[in-house]
């Protein structure tokens, strides 16, 4: 069974390709897929009619106890045969319905095949949640099929209406399914039905599941999406909206009825809504002029009928219901396909325009006539058998309550009268010659292949009537789980002798003919009593109300001011964790003044600098005082006993200053924009409160700490497993290497982001290098600084921008610094240092070259694409982990290799060194990318006066 579903999936995926190769003939190949499903289903017929069933279970998400549990019993088999059989025929029909040059055929073919697979999965699923998954898949594919290309407003609206309604019902159903599953203690459909449990939870769950079923099967008051969905192409209407998808609700009710029919609320909902839907649908159907709409309302009506039958919860009604489900699928898809042929042949579906088609399309007229006869309940067709079985069942029993049964019977007979009436209207409208209408011309006479699908379906309707005893084992196989209310169960057959039900059938046909004959006065009456309100209007009003509320809420909460948003967030932080801190937190009993007096001194400097940062409006000075806090922090780190941190903080602070200067040189000197005093007071209040909160939180967190720190074991582990003496570094590259891997990835993203923001259009490639030819020309041009070149590309700088002292210093120091950075990298495992510090030092060396020699000098110093450095670094770090995995160790586990080599002596190699090299490369890449973007590229834009003006047609999104 799973293989069948996968076959549909594969076919749906390749369908667009097939359509591109073979055009509309691809549908013929695709039809083989559901046909294979049909063949398989029929092959299981023997097993199932003998009372057996076919099960298949595949684990899906074992951690959640989810499995793909599929099961084929009598009910599933009936539905699966309909879904696959009608599906194959509809695909066959598509091969002629579409013109060879129609657009979007590939998409359509894929979606329709995928739908067929989902629907098959729905009727086979034995797991509640799996059932829900397939349920929603059919909803989604139905949405795509109704919406079509999305070019037409009416189709879009119909599609989204169907989606909103059925998904809303589906969500209610999901909640209901979970409630039912929890109550019964199993999520297997077969076990749930056998033993549903009881209690209010079950009642609520059942009602919610019914909500899903009645939205899907278009019961009142959610019936209006189905006629609107007629915007879809006719094959879709025939398959989804007559034979398959709308049957999902009927199927679910039929599936649950053996266990749930006696749950309070079930019968009023199912029987009441079903009957009302049957009458309302029929009432609307008898005055439609569009043949397709007429059938759509007829479908609504028939779905109500089916809902009553399968939901009644008695053996005789269920058997009639199953027969009627088969009958309806056959005749309704035939009729829809016939309308498609008429539409295709004449270009209209308007029964006021069509005239005399019966003579011109006699075959089609016979086909549609047969199907119509089945719909109206004319013997000997299958529709007659089903309807008669239903009448008999209600006459003899059918429902536990006699009065209710007779009331239902009266309603169903009335509904059947109307059904007969709109059947006559359909046949008359489609094929009769009407006075005052010229005979309709055939634009495209249908080919035999086009008529094959409806013809086959109509023949089945005809044959299965007399052959209805063949259906009996299936109907009985499903219905035997239900209690028998009538004295004895009547078998499905065409002739039961002269009995009351036969008289009722005669009444429906005669009554239908009368209603049809009196159509003029009845339609006039309908127009007069039409109420100026409809479910559809209610739907739109609800939707617009939602829209308005959404805009109102968004408009009031999203004021568009970033400081306001941030302020709101901070106020919430103050209100919630803040109040807990004040009222619940244990305050420290004792305090120490400081760890050392120098700490207090440095702290005072940091605080003064922070306060100055608030006052200063000059950009550069503000940056400098913020830098002071950073350097102060480095001292605090050193005092606390963290040399690695102090080193890193010093390096980063220096780099930050340089980068700031690089950008701020392009901005005005002062920050002019000022806030109003009231805003400043508000900000100040929030700021002080947040500061106090964080200080208190830190102090309280310290004092209440009782657990032993996880890092107690680090020193030992660091040496034994990590092979290093610098515990912080071993933590970074081994103990918590996953963290570090994530963090260096973030660094890569930030570096890429910087470059993308500055370069705007093209951001790959290395820094510009000096063109030797250009350099030589500049050399000849005379007036330049002293001849002796200390650096490679300083000659390209204007003389007034050169500084010989800086050049000399750079020349002397650059390589020394690089060597030192490598030393930090390699010694970092045992001494302060490591990949981060080493990379930052190397970055500072590059900064020095750039400052001394300008942008070309940077290109000479590092003639590589920074993106390459970042990528190789990430590869190094990630590769270390992957190699560990490949040789059977944990990801990112360190191996210690020791050995004695000539010349080198004893060498101890720790593999996490390669991880640290990756870190080193990434940090160098980050610095180089920043220098290249915020330094060199900004210089280039200024030098070449390259305005980043928009090119025509380009839009800059702010």
């Amino acid at each position: 069974m799973l293989a069948l579903l996968l076959l549909h999936l594969v076919a749906a995926t390749v369908a667009p390709l097939l359509v591109r190769w073979w055009g509309r003939q691809a549908f013929l190949a695709l039809a083989l897929v559901p046909a294979a499903g049909f063949a398989w289903t029929m092959a299981q017929l023997g097993t199932v009619t003998d009372g057996g069933e076919v099960r298949e279970t595949t684990p899906w998400v074992p951690a959640l106890d989810l499995e793909i549990a599929l099961r084929l019993d009598a009910l599933s088999l009936t539905l699966a045969a309909l879904v696959t059989g009608v599906g194959a025929l509809v695909l066959l029909y598509c091969a002629r319905y579409f013109e060879p040059d129609d657009e979007g055929m590939g998409r359509f073919a894929g979606t329709l095949t995928a739908f067929a697979g989902s629907m098959l999965g729905l009727v086979l699923a034995d797991d509640l949640l799996l059932l829900y998954v397939f349920w929603e898949l059919t909803t989604v594919f139905s949405y795509l099929l109704i919406g079509g290309s999305g070019a037409r407003l009416a189709a879009r609206r119909a599609a989204s209406q169907a989606l909103v309604l059925t998904t809303a019902g589906g969500l209610a159903m999901l909640v209901g399914l979970i409630m039912i599953g929890e109550t019964s203690g199993s999520y297997l459909l077969s076990e749930v039905v056998a033993n549903p449990g009881d209690g209010p939870f079950l009642i609520a769950g059942t009602v919610l599941v019914l909500v899903g079923a009645i939205t899907k099967s278009a019961m009142i008051p959610f019936h209006f999406w189905l006629p609107a969905a007629m915007e879809a192409p006719t094959p879709v209407s025939a398959y989804l909206h007559a034979a398959a998808m709308v049957k999902a609700g009927i199927y679910l009710v039929a599936r649950l009825a053996p266990g749930f029919a006696d749950v309070p609320g079930w019968r009023p909902i199912v029987l009441g809504l079903g009957l009302a839907t049957m009458l309302v649908g029929g009432y609307r159907a008898i005055r439609q002029n569009d043949l397709k709409l007429l059938l759509a309302f007829g479908t609504v009506s028939q779905l109500g009928f089916l809902m009553v039958l399968v939901g009644a919860g008695s053996r005789e009604m269920a058997a009639a219901g199953l027969a009627m489900v088969v009958a309806h699928a056959l005749f309704k898809s035939t009729l829809f396909l016939s309308v498609g042929v008429i539409d295709h042949a004449t270009g209209t579906r308007d029964l006021r325009v069509l005239s005399g088609l019966g003579r011109r399309l006699p075959v089609l007229a016979v086909i549609a006539g047969l199907a119509g006869a089945s719909m109206a309940g004319v013997p000997p067709l299958l529709g007659f058998v089903g309807k008669e079985a239903a009448f008999t069942a209600l006459l003899d029993g059918g429902l536990p309550d006699r009065t209710a049964a007779l009331l239902e019977l009266a309603g169903l007979v009335l509904g059947s009268v109307i059904t007969a009436a709109y059947t006559f209207r359909f046949l008359w409208g489609a094929f009769a010659r009407k006075p005052g209408c010229a005979d309709t011309e055939l634009v495209h006479p249908p080919t035999p292949l086009f008529l094959a699908a409806p013809a086959l379906l109509a023949l089945l309707s005809l044959v299965l009537g007399p052959a209805s005893p063949l259906l009996e084992p299936l109907a009985a196989g499903y219905a035997e789980d239900l209690p028998l209310i009538a004295p004895e169960a009547e078998k499905l057959a065409i002739w039961h002798g002269l009995q009351p039900a036969l008289a009722l059938s005669a009444v429906t046909l005669l009554g239908g003919w009368a209603v049809f004959a009196l159509r003029a006065p009845i339609n006039r009456f309908q127009r007069r009593v039409a109420v100026h309100a409809s479910a559809d209007e209610g739907y739109w009003n609800v939707l617009q109300g939602l829209d308005r509320v959404a805009v109102l809420v968004t408009g009031t909460t999203q004021r568009g001011s970033l400081p306001a948003y941030l302020g709101t967030i901070l106020v919430v932080v103050l209100a919630l964790p803040g109040s807990i801190l004040i009222f619940r937190a244990p305050w420290p009993d004792e305090w120490r003044a400081w760890d050392s007096p120098i700490q207090a001194l440095v702290g005072a400097v940091v605080l003064v600098a922070a306060v100055l940062a608030l006052r200063i409006r000059q950009r550069l000075s503000a940056v400098l005082v913020v830098g002071v806090t950073g350097y102060g922090l480095a001292v605090l780190f050193a005092l606390q006993g963290a040399p690695d941190l102090a080193l890193t903080q010093f390096l980063v602070e220096t780099l930050t200053l340089v980068v700031f200067v690089l950008v701020l040189r392009k901005l005005p000197k002062d920050i002019t924009d000022r806030h109003r005093p009231r805003e400043r007071a508000g900000r100040g209040l929030i700021a002080v409160a947040v500061g106090a909160l964080m200080a208190a939180a830190g102090a309280v967190a310290m004092s209440v700490r009782t657990a032993t720190p996880v890092s107690v074991a680090y020193p030992d582990e660091a040496y034994r497993f990590g092979g290093g003496q610098n515990i912080v570094n071993v933590t970074l590259v081994d103990i918590r290497a996953w963290d570090t891997l994530g963090e260096i990835s973030l660094v890569v993203v930030a570096a890429t982001g910087v470059a993308s923001l500055v370069f705007l259009r093209k951001r790959t490639g290395a820094v510009d290098r000096l063109d030797p030819v250009q350099l030589a020309r500049q050399g000849r041009s005379g007036r330049r600084a002293p001849r002796g070149q200390w650096l490679a590309a300083t000659a390209a700088l204007a003389p007034e921008r050169r500084s010989v002292i800086l050049e000399v210093i750079t020349r002397v120091l650059f390589h020394t610094i690089l060597v030192f950075s490598l030393f930090l990298l390699f010694s970092g495992h045992n001494e302060p240092g490591g990949g981060f510090a080493g990379g930052l030092v190397a970055g500072l060396a590059l900064v020095l070259r750039y400052l001394a020699g300008g942008r070309y000098e940077l290109g000479e110093a590092a003639p590589v694409d920074p993106g390459l450095l970042l990528g190789v670094g990430l590869l190094f770090a990630g590769g270390t982990g992957a190699v560990g995995l490949a040789v059977g160790a944990e990801v990112l586990q360190t191996a210690i290799l020791e050995g004695t080599f000539p010349v080198l002596g004893d060498v101890k190699l720790v593999t996490s060194l390669f991880f640290d090299m990756g870190v080193y490369l990434i940090v160098v890449g980050l610095v180089l990318d920043i220098l290249r973007s915020l330094g060199a590229e900004l210089d280039r834009q200024a030098d070449e006066d390259d305005p980043i003006d928009v090119s025509p047609g380009e839009v800059i999104v702010r």
């Binding site: 569009d290 109420v531 617009q544 568009g560 806090t629 500061g691």
Partner: protein
Amino acid sequence: MTPTVVLPVIIGGLYAAGVYLLLDRSLTRVLLGFLLLGNATNLLLLSSGGPAGLAPILGYAEPEEMSDPLPQALILTAIVITFGIAAFLLALIYRSWRLVRQEVVGVDEEDRRIARRSATDADEIDPDDLAPEDRPAMHADTLSDEEVERALARDYADIPSDDVDLPPTRRSDR
């Protein structure tokens, strides 16, 4: 563990200054506030590691005398990441300045537009306001267009019906 007075005061001060700057409209000051917040958070993390100790390097100190290495490792990467994000914000500031000669976070026009919004998309319009051929099929009962009804009654005098919202398949013929 006994908290010190000095560290929470520094942390609180840095947080207060950082938040004050963060709530500014000038992006440069927002960035400075971001840096101060970063410093404050790093210090908070460090202080959670307990009192000062010796550097956590074997051979230099005994494990009992060492300061806690775990917060240090966390802070070390945080420092570098703060640098990367600061550079990114700087690039943002530069771009904003280059494109619109402004480096303040103005009022978000999109948010204001939504707040003022009154018009709706075609897909959300009330069906009554649509052209007849775009109306959904079930909307018939709400329609009271007497003129259309009369025209239909005249055109199709022989064929009784009241259905006026038929989605036409041959629109060009009408």
